[in-house]
Every structure is written in structure tokens, then in C-alpha cells.
Amino acid sequence: MTAALKLRAIRLCAALLLSSAALLPGEARAGAARIASINMCSDQLLMALADPEQIVGLGPYARDPHLSFMAREAERFPQLSGEAEDVLELQPDVVLAGRYGKRATRELLRTKGIKLAEFDVPRSIDDVKAQITRLGELVGHPDRASALNARIDQAADRTRQAAARWQGRVLPLSRRGWIAGSDSLISSLLSTAGLVNAAAELGLRQGGFASLETIVAARPDLLLMTDDVPTAEDQGKALLLHPAIQNSYPPSRRLVIAEQLTICGGPMLPQALDRLTAAIERIDR
């Protein structure tokens, strides 16, 4: 393939990507040689599935230990700004990006002829598995993808077994009173475990901010929180330390699963499920 032809092929792919998020025929076989990611969640998928030589750069949050599951591994790879400039300079074969946010950056890259693979925010375990399969094809390692998916399935089975003994209503509560809706990955994890996301009772099926009062009044059995550190580094965190919550929900009534395990779907999912299993078993006792 001449350089010109190759470029045309990439343009074609980019055009196709615009119209459809489906797997592209060209992605599967060869496995792109040089891949960059500008989204924290695709960073994780990429690190889990690609060979290190294939990765030319990761997004700005990849090394953040609070958010990024594979923060340590990410240190091996160049860190990108998340904006178009350094990506353009690198000229990777594919750029992984989120479907939401950074719209201007994505448009710019596209007009410059750089191929984009966009990933939705996964709303269920199945979504995550589909993304893993898709990226496995893209990097040319479908075997790794199916192995990871198998690990997810096994973890989900363990959770299901544990959950058979206890069922209850869980409210996933984050900073500033943000409640993840029923149509979210966290909800999918909960339902795998046979637990009910109480968000719907609060009228927040799509997720949203709940006031302290409605949380207290809904009286969920458990709160699902991302950490248990008793300092309020900002006002959003301060809400979680409000006495109304602290008193009604002592540590024994909280499920704590670190943010980096639930913020994305991907290689962290088995561990997230195992944490959930362990938490349920503890409550059971």
C-alpha cells in the first residue's frame, strides 16, 4: 500500500466512524501499530490489551492513582495533554477517545485525517465486555480480550453466588450527592449481585444529584461509596461527611469500592466485582 493509498484508507475509515460506531473491517486483522488514547477509560483498556510497543501515549489522567486503575503501569508510557496538538505531532494510527466531551478536539483530529475509535460510557457489564472485544480486535489481540472477558464472567459468578444469600437496596452515593442511575455500570454491578439500586426510588433513574434529605428519607439499606477517608478536601466531599449520613450509615452499612474500580469499565472489573462479593459476605455475617 502506498502512502497515499494508506492515507485515503484512513480517511475512509474516519468517515465510516463518523456514521457508525460499529466495528470496522480494517481494524480486526492487522492490529494497529501505533495507538494513542486521550480518555482515561480507554487508557485502561489499551494498557490491558495492547503490547507496550503499540502504545504511543496515554491521556492526562492515566497516572492519577485516585482515578486510574493502572496508574503504575501508565508511568511507562508518554503522557499526553488530552488536546489535539501532541496527538497531531505523534501521528498515531488510531486515537482512542470517549464519545462524550472534548468534542472540539475530536473534530479537529478528524479533519486532520487521524483515525478515531470512540468509546461510549459503558452502562452494563455486557457493554464493557463488548468494548473489550472491540479493542482486542483493534489491537490485534482478540485472545487477550476473551481471556479478560472470561475473568469478568468468573468474578460475576462469584458475586452471584454470594448474593444469593442477601438482598437489599443500595444507593450509590458520590461527591456532592451525585447518585448513579439505574442505567449505569455501577447499577449493572449491583444487579449482578442481586442488589437493587435505590436511585429509582429517588426519581433518579437516569442518575442525578440528590439532596441530603431525600437520601436520608429514602433509607436505603446500604450506601455504596468510593472511599472512607474522613477528610473533606472540598465542599463536594464535605457532604459525604455530614452528620446526617455519618450517623445513619456507620461503616457497617457502607459498601466501599474505590473510585478507580468503578469509574471505568475494563480490566478493573473483576476486582470491582470481587470487592462487592467480599462486602456482601461481610454484611451477611
Binding site: E213, V216, D234, A244
Partner: protein, 336 residues
């Protein structure tokens, strides 16, 4: 205005505050009747009702009334000191500077948002800003100069607040910025009350006790001084009182502006324009105004909570412009 009228005014204001306080306790996302609220307040009702009323709504209402009172009082005191109805802490950048102080200690990791370091830093920055402002404007404070310097200081403090939040390793900076710059009383707890109230009480006391001096100051600084008022000391006391009160208020509620501008102006005709009698009614009316604003933000339907500072600014800025138009002649005159 006779003493009986003044007592009536104070009684009406107290009545209004009590009424709004009860309304504030009865309003929230969870529907509770006034009867239930009162029952829960005195220890009856279900666990959930008690939690909602005693731990969520009560501290919020207490903060609204005390912070509003503090802003109203600070405005009345500054207007008394500077002998001008356009003076107010928020126009002089004091709350913005206080917010910067609070954000700074969080950003450099000295303290979290529930520590006493927060009000202390806010108070220190508020003190610096008011002190600098009055120093820049000079002894015979020309109002135009004050407002320009105040604008500069509040812009600087607002920018510094945003910068500090952006530089801090917090991915939620933009939400935090909006809290500090627009203010909110949502979901505060008694922890916040104990954090702010002692400082506000001292600040309020410092301002309250100088009513007579403000009255004498109506004659100008020189005449007041010749009548035995230590104007230098008075200035310092007012700066300290405003810094303590406003700084502590901002540390728990963020920047809530314009109450200190609106309230003294509304109360002034009712007390016969006497700056010495303006302090208590301004404090009461300030408490009532912030209670009412905080009730209103809960009643206006919206997807995410409206910040109470947005509402006070929406009312306050047009009011400020109206005052400027009324003062236009004296403002342009003071240029000469």
C-alpha cells in the same frame, strides 16, 4: 422616630425572622408539615424526620439567619464608617478575599473544609482586603475610589480563588469554584455552625458596640474626632469586626453578596437615617433576607440546586445600579 416605633420595628423584624425560620425548616425536597417539623424539632417524630429537621434543616436555617445578619450588620457598619450608602463588604471584595483565603489553605493541603484553619484563613484574607482597601482609598474615603479599588480587589481575589482551585489536585475544581464564588447553604451541618458562629458573634459584637460612634461620625471624621471619637481606633475595630464576621461566614457558605448593600438601605428610612440605630434592624433584616432567599432557591424548580449567592446577586446588582443612579451627582462631584 419615637422609641415606641422603634420597638415596633424591632418586634416586626424579629417576628419576620421567626416566621421565615419556621418556613425554612418546613421546606425541602422531603415534604413535612409544619406540625411534623415542630414535633421533630422537640424530639418527636420518626428517626428520619428528626434527622432531616434537626441535622439538615436546622443548621441550614441557623446559618442562613446568622450569616444574613452578619452581612447586613457589616454593611450597616461600613456605611456608617464611610458615611455612604454605597459601601458594602461585597463591593469591597471582602467575601471574595475570604473565599480565596479558605481555598488557599485547602489547596496547599493545610486543612480540609471542616477545620478551624478555614475560617481563620478566610478572616485573615478578609482583614487584609478591607485594610488594603481603606488604606488605598485614604482617610477621607472618596467613594468612587473605594468602589474602583474594591472592584480591583474582588476581581483579583476571584481570579486567585479560581487559580488556586485549578492548581490544586482536584478534578472537580469547576464545581468547587462555583461554590466559593456564588455561595450556598445547601446541606450544611452543625459542624459548620460551630465553625463559623463564634467568630461571627465576636465580629458582630465589635460592630454592634460602635453605633454611637457611627452617629457622631455623621459629622465627618474631623468633627467626630474633636468630639472625642478615636477615629483611627474605630476604623480598625470595624475592619476587624467585618473581617471576623464576613470571613467566618464565607468559610462555611461561600460568597453571598449584596445583602450588606440592600438591607441597610431599606432599614435607614425606618430608623430616621440614624446610623447608630441602623445596626440592629440591619442585622435582623439581613437574617430575614437570607432566610427568604434560601427558601426561594429551594422553591424555584430547577434540575440542579440554584446557588443562593446567585439569587442575592440577581436582586442586589440592579439595586446597586439604582443606588448609583440616585447618587450620580455626588459620585461625579466627588471626582473633583
Amino acid at each position: 422616630m419615637r422609641a415606641a416605633d422603634r420597638t415596633l420595628l424591632a418586634a416586626l423584624l424579629v417576628g419576620g425572622v421567626v416566621l421565615l425560620f419556621l418556613v425554612s425548616l418546613s421546606i425541602g425536597p422531603v415534604r413535612l408539615s409544619l406540625g411534623t417539623v415542630i414535633e421533630a424539632l422537640v424530639g418527636g417524630g420518626t428517626d428520619v424526620q428528626r434527622t432531616i429537621v434537626q441535622e439538615i434543616r436546622l443548621p441550614r436555617a441557623i446559618l442562613a439567619v446568622t450569616i444574613g445578619a452578619m452581612h447586613g450588620l457589616a454593611g450597616a457598619a461600613l456605611q456608617g464608617l464611610l458615611r455612604n450608602p454605597l459601601a458594602a463588604p461585597s463591593l469591597f471584595g471582602a467575601p471574595q478575599a475570604a473565599a480565596f483565603g479558605a481555598v488557599l489553605v485547602i489547596a496547599i493541603g493545610v486543612a480540609d473544609t471542616l477545620s478551624y484553619a478555614l475560617p481563620l484563613a478566610a478572616i485573615a484574607m478578609a482583614f487584609v482586603s478591607v485594610f488594603v482597601l481603606l488604606a488605598v482609598a485614604g482617610r477621607n474615603a472618596n467613594l468612587l475610589l473605594l468602589i474602583l479599588a474594591g472592584l480591583a480587589l474582588s476581581s483579583l481575589a476571584g481570579a486567585a480563588t479560581s487559580l488556586a482551585l485549578n492548581l490544586a489536585p482536584n478534578p472537580f475544581a469547576s464545581l468547587e469554584i462555583s461554590f466559593w464564588l456564588l455561595g450556598s447553604l445547601e446541606d450544611r451541618s452543625f459542624h459548620h455552625v460551630t465553625l463559623a458562629l463564634p467568630f461571627m458573634a465576636v465580629g458582630a459584637a465589635l460592630l454592634m458596640m460602635r453605633g454611637e460612634a457611627f452617629r457622631v461620625l455623621s459629622l465627618g471624621e474631623e468633627a467626630a474626632q474633636s468630639l472625642g471619637v478615636d477615629v483611627g481606633h474605630l476604623r480598625l475595630q470595624v475592619i476587624l469586626g467585618v473581617a471576623l464576621g464576613v470571613g467566618a461566614a464565607v468559610a462555611v457558605s461561600g460568597t453571598i453578596g449584596f445583602i450588606g448593600l440592600i438591607v441597610p438601605h431599606l432599614m435607614r428610612p425606618l430608623v430616621g437615617y440614624d446610623p447608630g440605630r441602623l445596626l440592629l434592624p440591619s442585622a435582623l433584616a439581613g437574617g430575614a433576607l437570607l432566610l427568604a432567599a434560601d427558601v426561594a432557591v429551594r422553591l424555584i424548580p430547577s434540575t440542579t440546586g440554584i446557588k443562593v449567592g446567585v439569587l442575592t446577586a440577581l436582586i442586589g446588582v440592579p439595586f446597586f445600579l439604582y443606588l448609583v443612579v440616585r447618587q450620580r451627582r455626588s459620585l461625579t462631584g466627588s471626582l473633583a
